[in-house]
């Protein structure tokens, strides 16, 4: 009996911290995410050039230079899907954002490459973005609760959610 207790005491902390499949990695393929956003069939990808005022606005949200000159997106009706990378601490996190009628429909972390902060992949965090819209000052219309130990990843996902809404607004206004 005491051996069993000892084994539980020794193994329990490790099991609690490891969690089921909680580590960094590729969680969902990009085309799978796009297909799930368009159940009737994925539209052809389009590209949006990020230049001039749009680039300034995107870089204001990110707080740093936006690396790419254009971004690829998928758009049909009132829905658009954006696959964007943002660095949490040192490596990029690949994030998929679906926007419908100017509000976030879904946020998914597609790939997480760093050793810490992967908790942002879980629905308890990403579900906070559902129905979020951009306010006039470029911020979300709601508060996103952080995760202890994943502050930089939380900030990165939040920035990308704002950028996706901004880009969606741009394709709507520019046609």
């Amino acid at each position: 009996m005491w051996r069993l207790l000892l084994a539980i005491l020794l193994l329990a902390p490790g099991a609690a911290f490891a969690g089921p499949g909680g580590e960094a990695g590729r969680y969902i393929e990009t085309d799978e995410y796009i297909s799930s956003a368009f159940p009737g069939g994925s539209p052809a990808p389009r590209t949006l050039w990020v230049s001039g005022e749009l680039r300034d606005a995107v870089e204001r949200v990110l707080g740093h230079r936006f690396a790419a000159l254009r971004v690829r997106y998928w758009h049909e009706g009132a829905r658009s899907v954006w696959i964007l990378d943002e660095i949490g601490k040192e490596l990029p996190i690949t994030i998929g954002v679906t926007v419908a009628d100017g509000a976030i429909d879904n946020v998914r972390v597609l790939e997480f490459r760093e050793s810490r902060g992967w908790e942002v992949r879980y629905p308890f965090f990403t579900d906070q973005f559902v129905d979020a819209r951009l306010e006039d000052d470029g911020h979300l219309d709601r508060r996103i609760d952080g995760i202890t130990g994943a502050t930089l990843s939380v900030a990165a996902v939040t920035r990308i959610a704002r950028v996706a809404l901004l880009l969606d607004d741009t394709i709507k206004t520019t046609g």
Binding site: T30, P45, A68, R70, R72, K89, L91, R113
Partner: protein, 268 residues
């Protein structure tokens, strides 16, 4: 000499030694206290001050840490441009364009754009090295990318035994028939010149050491290997002795003061 006299002399000698030792330890420890204090504060705020993202590229320091660049995993050239994968870091000429890369498939230059393909992604860049767009190879292709080539003013990618050809701006890649392959030039791996490789390896090594890590090693003494750790252990012991000797001196001083006050009070 009476016992109390001898005891008084002994106490006086101990006081003198304590005072001397305390003074000398204080002088010796000034530099270390400053070093530990400053490095400790910096380590506490390393993330806020970006010290965990700032890198040191001093060759002598990198040599001391034994940080070496691995040999290139793969290197492809097309025209004047060369894509090289060192470790998991991808370079276009001497510019880093991606990290966490596991395999390089080739390069196709279509001035003013260039396509660098890894096994999992396509990077469209300007010939000046500015990233235009990165694309996941899983989207619209048959899996990982096997090789890359040029067909006139179009880039061609082979993935899962199928061929995909780009438009001139590389915004779209569409299925392409194998029987149209006349004039197709596949990108072939070639080793970089020694001078190019030296530049890349210097760049690679320069990202291997953060300011935070050096500060942590200075703080713990590990910067001078086991000798440094022993020195910092000695410093820690000296600091304990300094604080204890200071406390004993203060205690003796307080007692003497109290004794003097008591004697003065009796005289009055």
């Amino acid at each position: 000499m009476t016992l109390s006299r001898r005891q008084a002399n002994g106490n006086a000698r101990l006081r003198i030694w304590l005072r001397r030792g305390h003074r000398w330890l204080g002088v010796v420890l000034v530099l270390f206290v400053l070093l530990l204090g400053v490095s400790g504060i910096a380590l506490n705020h390393a993330s806020d001050w970006g010290l965990d993202r700032r890198h040191l590229d001093w060759p002598w320091l990198l040599d001391a840490y034994g940080i070496q660049a691995p040999a290139p995993t793969a290197s492809f050239a097309d025209g004047d441009l060369r894509a090289t994968l060192i470790g998991e870091r991808l370079f276009l000429d001497d510019q880093e364009i991606a990290e966490g890369v596991t395999g390089l498939a080739g390069i196709a230059t279509l001035d003013p754009l260039v396509l660098v393909a890894t096994k999992d992604a396509l990077y469209v860049l300007t010939t000046a090295g500015e990233l235009v767009e990165s694309m996941d190879a899983a989207v619209g292709m048959s899996g990982s990318i096997d090789r890359v080539g040029r067909h006139g003013r179009r880039a061609v990618v082979e993935s899962g035994g199928k061929f995909y050809r780009s438009d001139p701006d590389m915004t779209q890649f569409e299925r392409w028939d194998a029987d149209q392959q006349g004039g197709l030039q596949w990108s072939a791996a070639t080793p970089p010149a020694a001078a190019e490789l030296a530049v890349l390896q210097t760049l690679y090594r320069g990202r291997g050491l953060t300011v935070e890590r050096v500060l942590a090693d200075v703080h713990s003494g590990r910067i001078f290997a086991s000798t440094g750790t022993l020195i910092m252990d000695a410093v820690a012991v000296f600091m304990i002795v300094l604080s204890l000797s200071g406390f004993v001196l203060w205690l003796q001083h307080s007692r003497r003061e109290a004794e003097l006050e008591r004697r003065n009070g009796r005289r009055r």
